[in-house]
Symmetry: C2
Subunit: 301 residues, 2 copies
């Protein structure tokens, strides 16, 4: 699982940085978009993201720097003849706005588009054998949600060459992945370990959106492999951060320690900072495996 940063700035685009958007790649075929700031289409082009593979978009909250790129993205998908379904998980107000925009332009979305509401109950938004996504409420000035993306483990991984030489039918591959042996038509047992390799461990990515420094959602993200926590400010602006329902780099690092994560990604930088390295430096004094995200860079979860 990988995360590509399309936008890492807060409120205003500045110093070449764009407002929030990320692509989470669960596997070769499935991309999630988390938040969708203005100009996201250009970033998608710039970084070679395959737009048609985006199956789900998750919008954390209704501040413009997290969704003003969505109308344009949907419009382009429509004009370019998208056929694949798209599901958008978002706050209640968004579907009405998007509907009004397309109605005003006398345009109809030609591909299957669904809007689903976010849940405060830490329920699954998406749950498949390969991955799941849950939302959890964070603490911002308006209702705001984080997202926990999990890539599930498969106990075993198919060894294609071995399966071919033993002539295992494709229909049995799922059972092999779950660890069962294969018994052929003559009753011979072909051991699972001859046909498969060790599977991949499950991975969890937690995106904590815009939030105060708080432990209120700590449990939801506990033990995740990679944690994205906003760091709009440095610790010197702690009171400003609190007043605006944002966090500092130091607080993000403190949260990463509490959440027992392995890796911390920072973002949502205030436009007052030209360089983002300072956020990384501040956080690393507390949580060394911190990265101040940079647009276009893909981070392993």
């Amino acid at each position: 699982m990988k995360v590509t940063i399309l936008g890492n700035n807060s409120a205003l685009a500045a110093f070449g940085r764009h407002t929030t958007s990320q692509i989470v790649q669960v596997d070769d075929e499935t991309l999630f978009m988390i938040d969708c700031g203005e100009g996201v289409q250009e970033q998608i082009q710039r970084f070679g993201i395959r737009k048609n593979k985006i199956a789900y978009i998750f919008i954390s909250h209704m501040h413009g720097d997290h969704y003003f790129g969505l109308p344009g993205l949907l419009n382009s998908m429509n004009l370019l003849g998208r056929k694949a379904p798209l599901t958008i998980f978002c706050p209640d107000e968004l579907p009405e706005i998007i509907t009004a925009i397309f109605k005003a332009g006398d345009s109809q979305i030609q591909f299957p588009l669904s809007f689903c509401k976010l849940s405060t109950l830490n329920e699954y938004l998406v749950n498949t054998p390969r991955f799941s996504v849950r939302s959890f409420p964070v603490e911002h000035r308006i209702a705001c949600y984080g997202f926990l993306v999990e890539k599930k483990s498969r106990a075993r991984k198919i060894n294609a060459a071995a399966c071919e030489s033993y002539q295992i039918p494709f229909t049995h591959y799922d059972a092999l992945k779950d660890g069962t042996d294969y018994i052929d038509e003559e009753g011979n047992t072909i051991l699972n370990k001859w046909l498969t390799d060790d599977g991949t461990a499950p991975k969890k990515y937690a995106f904590c959106a815009d939030t105060l420094f708080t432990t209120s959602f700590l449990e939801a993200v506990m033990g995740c492999d990679t944690l994205y926590h906003e760091s709009t400010y440095l610790q010197v602006d702690e009171s400003k951060a609190a007043m605006r329902f944002h966090s500092t780099a130091k607080q993000a690092a403190q949260f990463a320690v509490l959440a027992k994560t392995k890796k911390l990604l920072l973002g949502h930088y205030s436009s007052k900072y030209r360089e983002v390295r300072v956020f990384e430096e501040e956080a690393r004094s507390i949580f060394p495996n911190t990265f101040a995200t940079i647009e276009g860079i893909t981070y392993e979860v």
Copy 2:
């Protein structure tokens, strides 16, 4: 009067080109924005446009490539503490959408913002002693308006050094510009021609938005100094242009001839064209003083 191109592409951003937006500079103090495609803020930064001098925004129609940058622009103006009033002339549907967006974000616009409806009657939207703007209906798939910006002539132009040496009070400058002589307290006449130079000629810029090739609005733009006419396609795609309520470069040139304009600007290029020079070449065979607009370039009206 000058026009700076912020976006010159149709529908989709492509090849580094952005969707429609232009800045019309009437004088040193007053900027108009015509249309406001996505990413306009970045273009404003890139080309050093003084955002606070934008007093009026004119939105031609409700297709997203002409206004999806507006919510972000307003949001930024708000966050950056704009104080100056802003008036937006736009189709009826826009104010409601903008209101819903700011309400959903629990944000209030802190500067004086007005929305005014566009008129089909070729009436003045703005009319001051220095400039005026009128809208006129063009022919597109949905209601769409062009804009005629006029910088008015002043008969005479103040010669500051001369006025100072004759000790003319500032309060009389406007009268001087209108050509009157100055009579001082002792009854002496100081001739206008000693105090002023020849004024500037009036200038007219016509922005014809998205439209079919039609003469229905020819009268509204007749004799303008510079005409912007869309050229989404080349003449080889004439039928596609007509079907989609757009024009070709050749048609734009034909219209320029009919309108007796001095200069033709082309734009709103389809994303299928990598190079825009081809539009210029096609139009110049009919109307030689044609320019295929390029983003960031400022054109004299």
